[in-house]
Symmetry: C2
Subunit: 279 residues, 2 copies
Amino acid sequence: MEIFNEIKPLRAFLTAQKKLGRSIGLVPTMGALHHGHLELIRSSRKENDLTVCSIYVNPTQFNNANDLEKYPRTLATDTALLTEAGCDVIFAPANTEMYASPSQLHFDMGHLDKILEGEFRPGHFSGVALVVSKLFNIVAPTRAYFGQKDFQQYKVITHLVNELMFDIELKSVPIVREASGLAMSSRNQRLNHEETGYATVFYRSLLLAKDLLNKGESIIPVREKVKQLCESFPAVRLEYFEWVDTVNLKPAENVSSQTILLIAGYVGEVRLIDNLIVE
Amino acid sequence: MEIFNEIKPLRAFLTAQKKLGRSIGLVPTMGALHHGHLELIRSSRKENDLTVCSIYVNPTQFNNANDLEKYPRTLATDTALLTEAGCDVIFAPANTEMYASPSQLHFDMGHLDKILEGEFRPGHFSGVALVVSKLFNIVAPTRAYFGQKDFQQYKVITHLVNELMFDIELKSVPIVREASGLAMSSRNQRLNHEETGYATVFYRSLLLAKDLLNKGESIIPVREKVKQLCESFPAVRLEYFEWVDTVNLKPAENVSSQTILLIAGYVGEVRLIDNLIVE
């Protein structure tokens, strides 16, 4: 496996690969890899000649300094996992490589970056769009892979690719869960044993809501029940539970196969998100 | 010469050219070509194997519906001029090709897109950044050429390329002027004979200001004299005359080889801009 910390030699390497006609899959990550990430690597390897995994904790997408500081960094373990998973290239740049000077550029995407995560993490999606644009222009991949856990992020990036016309095929890969149902997340590493147990409440809330909605209950009482369930744990604080259209992320009027349930909240100091498509 | 109206066949054509190792120069225009544009084509031909000229009147960069409607469209003449100039490819897309759905994405670049043109044309540079990003991702050129007349636009695009890390070399080409000193512009076609005479006042203002500044006069009286000169023509309305640093576009404290004088105003219904680097 090749490891690059700088853009220039990475570009030179990839240009040579492209001249040989090789397709490139990009898996952008912030490191602290888990099985969800490895599933993205697997998907990329199936569909591309070469898989590049970027590992970069992007400061411009953090609206909370404490979250940025505490975000787990485990490069040695990540490298071992990626080697074992058959990843071809790691790109792990320093901040000075990705931001030669402080960024002055912000993206505004109308409705899409103001709701849900955008409401609770102002500026987050602008930072995501910025770093993803950088990575797309550095790697110029054939395909790029994202996890469904960050569903709104995937919609934002789809929008970015459509509007800026990046010549890249985007792929969304289903959520990987622990046996407990907890959606895999790098932030789970920050939970203690007790909190890890509580954290399953978000997935249980989604299952409960799906069940009630499929039985014909309307959204207001369902949201109330989700709130009650979450609040039964003192360490858990629900931020939002929403029910939107998977295509345009607007509030869904009826439950359909195009409806997604999204939930976000804190367990102790750690903010987690999860989602479930209603089928 | 090849002419494309659609993205897909253009990309296929250019991908084949790149596989042969050919470098590509992009000259983005809004058509209504003049000698200034042809100078961009010449510069591109000198430095690249293949030159692509895009012709597209981009609606998202017009803050004034009348200006958009009246913008000259002369595709047949443009094609003849480009053929004669040895351009290899024209890309002339329709609005539906460039904007499959109405754009929701806006760029904010801090100071850079709020001052000068940005102050008088709100949203203009966001539209420019959007269409240039599209063109960069469609053509993926080795180099891209812009005229110095749109000096602030060049700074905005430089900023965009640096922040989003487009792998493209940008080139600025000096202003081409009529014998009268009038900076060539597609909008000059909209001036009547009398107005064309008046329009030279902007360049004469720049020359006057440069002369006075070089003689040690300070900016306030110089600006007053420029204002007086412009106002001596009833059809002319000065919008701004500024004196900024060529690197960061911040107000220059002293005249140096890094100072640029920028002027903008109306002649009748037509808005014109010009600039001059103080040497």
